[in-house]
């Protein structure tokens, strides 16, 4: 079995350094801005929010993250021996629009196509309504998928072995995997207030889940990029 992937460093050019701090703020602001309309009518509001969310996530991936197969990314197209090249000089990296934006779009497609059905199914298994609220469940899955898996696919690609490690939570925690774990844990915790008898509009399906996912994304990104960086999830 190959060793787990090394933690990913964000690119270190100025734009990346700026945007990586700006990104969580933008994501949360977007959600906060849309929150009242989501509460008022979840389906259209969640649908329209997906577009700016996708733009922000693609921008984040393209500006801050090393794409799959790049020098300071992890494994991928060409297999490298572990530890073979750890320290490419990122400053010199030519930022080509095509080599960044196109993979980001591809990541969007390849993460959401399997991601949304799998996540929607998981939501159902965790107790989402089966006979009603299908649009809401799908949209919640889409938001979680955009948040949790898009950057992940951008940096890790779709390699089977790598994804087995990801599902097993064996990859090192970094900003990107932190986003994933944070989003999932956040969505999990988002179920907590649903049963409470507070009679608030925002308690309806799936608002708390999506809210939890957004907050979890931010927290996971920050923690994953700082204090948890390089750690692994241990089951033992």
């Amino acid at each position: 079995m190959k060793p787990p992937a090394t933690p990913i460093d964000t690119l270190s050019n100025d734009a990346a350094n700026l945007y990586k701090h700006l990104h969580p703020v933008l994501i949360l602001s977007l959600y906060a801005y849309q929150f009242s309309s989501i509460v008022a009518d979840p389906v259209p509001a969640l649908t329209t929010t997906l577009i700016p969310l996708a733009v922000l996530q693609i921008a984040y991936a393209a500006i801050c993250l090393p794409p799959i197969g790049s020098s300071n990314g992890v494994g991928g197209g060409e297999k490298k021996k572990p530890g073979e090249r750890r320290k490419a000089a990122p400053g010199k990296l030519e930022v080509s629009f095509n080599s960044k934006i196109v993979p980001a779009f591809l990541s969007l497609i390849s993460s959401t196509l399997p991601g949304i059905p799998v996540l929607a199914l998981s939501l159902l298994l965790f107790g989402a309504p089966v006979t009603t609220h299908h649009a809401e469940t799908l949209l919640a899955a889409a938001h979680i998928s955009f948040l949790a898996t898009l950057p992940l696919v951008y940096v890790h690609g779709v390699d089977g072995g790598r994804w087995r490690e990801i599902v097993a939570a064996q990859v090192h925690i970094d900003e990107v995997f932190g986003c994933t774990l944070g989003t999932l844990v956040g969505a999990w915790l988002g179920a907590v207030p649903i049963p409470l008898d507070w009679d608030r509009e925002w308690q309806k399906w799936p608002i708390t889940i999506v809210t939890g996912a957004y907050i979890g994304f931010t927290v996971g990104k920050v923690l994953g990029g700082t204090i948890l960086k390089g750690k692994t999830v241990s089951f033992e």
């Binding site: 998981s122 107790g127 490690e165 599902v167 097993a168 179920a191 049963p195 409470l196 241990s234 089951f235």
Partner: protein, 1052 residues
Amino acid sequence: MDQGEPLPSFEGLAAAFAKAKAEKEREEASGLRARTGDAAAANKRGEVHFKALHLIVIAFFTFLLILHVLGIYLFATGFLLTRLVLDETSECALPPIDISDVYSPGSAETGCWHPKSFEKAVVILVDALRYDFTVPFQATDSEQAQHFHNALPVLYDTAAKHPHQAFLRPFIADPPTATLQRLKGLTTGTLPTFVDAGSNFAGDAIDEDNLVAQLRNASKRIVHLGDDTWHALWPGYFEPNLTRPYDSFNVWDLHTVDNGVTEHIFPLLHPANTSKWDVIIGHYLGVDHAGHRYGPDHPAMAAKLSQMDEVFHRMIEQIDDSTLLVVMGDHGMDVKGDHGGESDDEIQAALWMYSKQPFFGRTSPDYATPPATAKERPVAQIDLVPTLSLLLGLPIPFNNLGAPIEEAFIGAQGSNYENLANVNRLAAAQIHRYQDAYAQARGLDPSTRASALALWDAANDAWDSIKKSKKSATSDWKTTFSAFSAYQSETLSICRALWARFDIPRMINGVLILVSALIVLGIYARGLDGEHAELTAPLLSIGAAGSVIGLLNGLGLTYLYTSLSLDQALSFGAAFGGIAGVGMGFWYIRRRIILPVPTSIWGWASVIFTLALSAGFAANSWTIWEDEILLHFLATFGVLAVASSFRQKNTIDRALGCYHSILFIVLTRLASFSRLCREEQIPYCKSTYYASATSSTSATWQLAIPYVVAFTLPNLIRSYFKGTRNHQGSAILWLDFALRFGLLLSAAYWTLDAADDGEWYPGYGDEIKTTKRLIAQLTLAIALAFGYSTFSWAKPFLNIETKKKESYESASFVVDDSGTSSITILGYANVHGSRYAILITMWFLAISLVEKPMGAGAIGILTWQIFSLFEIIDTNKLSNTSIGPVVLGLLGSFHYFKTGHQGTLSSIQWESAFIPLQTIRYPWTPFIVVLNTFGAQILCAIAVPAIVLWKQPPKKKSLLSDVAKAVATHVLFYAVINLATTMWTGHLRRHLMLYRIFCPRFMMGAVVLVVVDIVSILIAIGGARTSFLSVAEVFGWSDVGVARTATREREM
């Protein structure tokens, strides 16, 4: 570990093994070492040692059970409300206040305290007569008429058409809405306390002053017909030759009681017989039973109510001028037809009174039509007591808190406020006398009833001023009436608060015991390093000694301080002595104690699941939605298991682990479709457990579920045996034939039951009843009698094969491969697990029978999940962690809800007692009801040892210790839940939702803990003994089950 050298206690399989080996050896002409004598002695020692250790483990868990029982007992007796019962009685000649200027008291002939209005009374109690059964219903777009609507119009019609002859009002019960409590309330006029709730089916004679006793004192001849609960409450009070009691518990029988009452009541109403009695009490049970059996929205209910309608029509015709006719319900029923709690539907009964002569009046013309809903103008059920007493010329029972009902005293003109003021003064004065006596007996602080006393003085002033002024206007009487009535209602509300009295020291003692027992259990389960079985002995001996010392201390203390109650001192002394003893025991073995803090993600998951669930019981919402929370946690475990499975290096482990984890999640979700919603979950929950939300019978399609289970589940279980080649010997007979046959029988039972319920074959009812009961008994006999014989006498599910050296079986064990052929033990890989698992399938069969068809499906899924869980635990190598036993706890709790139960008293399926039996028989009836109610938890508790036995090598050391550890962890889960619900209930004792939500959940948690304790001791650990003995018979004792001290020391 030596190479599977057979130890010569040869029998059965062992003999086969030896024979095969001997043959092989003969063939290869190699020598066999003979150490028979030595080995036999060692073997015997091993067996004795194992049996002793096993006994100690059993004793230790029994010790824990006692601690739990003592803690729960002390808390429950302090928490469940108590009221001092005064034995004073009211006397005819002694009115509570001076009434010489109004009436001369003392004659039962004309009326004791007030002139009587009726000579005789016929009191009909229609059990569970909900108010909306009696009022007309207009279908609207939003709401369609249900079967119970408009089926009983006579009460409303007479009250609306002849308001002077009859009135109908909502009649509100004080919870708990169980018949026995209600009869007490309806005759004594006092408030019930929760502590009586459990005695519904046992019955106690009433020792407080009450209506029936007053009737008898006045030499009235009382005839009772119907529900025999009355005879438990008033033994010997009724006219023996006219009275006809009927068994009240058989809720499946809709007609026997009702037909009996009707048959005997009408001859008595005949003018020729009216001189034989003074009061008839008729108690109809059909409506209640129709509710329990079918729910209110069912044709059977409509038929029952129409039958009642006809009965009342006839009564109205036959009753004579001097007789009062009263029809009332003692409580209502919820949407499924059950009762016991305090929801609106359960407390809203109906009260109707009728007189041939114009007698009843209304204080306002608006009140001429009966209230359209139970929210308008309700009367309390205790109000019946002073009303009936005064109408029949009896003294008001001493403990009464009710007020006279205005319709009965205002006069037909609706203007006799003088009379109304009079009777309210009498009732208020009696309440005042009672309150004085109560305050004196209990030593109450007068300030608690200062507000009521002020009202009392004001009312008396109003009365005196009327008396002084000679000339009195109606408005003055009205004021006086209101003043006395204000005193009554204020006193009532004070009493309600007062009798929510808790014995805080007792409750704290109980909680202290539970907390300490939890710590002991926690350290024992997760904080001991090394052999549990070996370490149990010192803990137990010092603990037991401590208990005895504590008990004696408690005894001594009660002699020194007589104010201490004996039971409290003894329980607390024994429990704390024991805990202190175990504490010393822990100190003695302190080097073996590690801090029980989780170290792995699995440990943390166990802790988080348990603690999050426990914390949630502090909020009513989370308590209400417990089933969904459990689903969430179980799915979470499944996802963690998927992640963990992906980490497995072995491809087979990875694939199997993933498969079983995903299967586990999917099955959990599948089971979650079986729902029985509690009232608070509506409208966010749709019941699927029965045919409809308002029924308690299964839909026809649901009858197919047990058949599906019967055809699929034995195969599924078999596949878990076949995977390790353990499908051998008795396992074939049991799984393929007995289990399947039993499941088919249980499916047939439920089909016959539906045929009986729906009267598919009219005229064959009795035959069907007899057959279905026989089938049920046969199923239980297969499950438990045949099952236990198989389990006790079966050899381990192994097969010995001698074959040419070619193929290796992963699941088999090759004894010796030095020659040309080898001896292969098929099934070696899972000897312990497969041997023990038979016990799970036996109880699965028994529990399937006693659950409704939907529940049988849930229990089938549960069994499948249990086996899946074994595989998850095995492939992820988690048998040593706490997650297995904790997930079994979650599973048990989850499927409790999936088998049609809720954390409410009304969800107890009492009727399950009649699945195998026609009448109540101890101890079988409670056994069946417990098996039905806690079937899921019981099955999971039985499965716990298999978590650590599954696919363990036969000679693995210290398996008994592993079993003890796993069982302790499982019990720990329930102990935490119990402690949490206990503490929250104690803490929230003034919460609005106490009786609806927190108290039932506390009772459930406590009962589940005790049940799981008992099941763990008797069935799980007890069964493990059988399983170990059987395996050791083949593989020898030296290593099985326990590691002997000597062996371990050598290794160290």
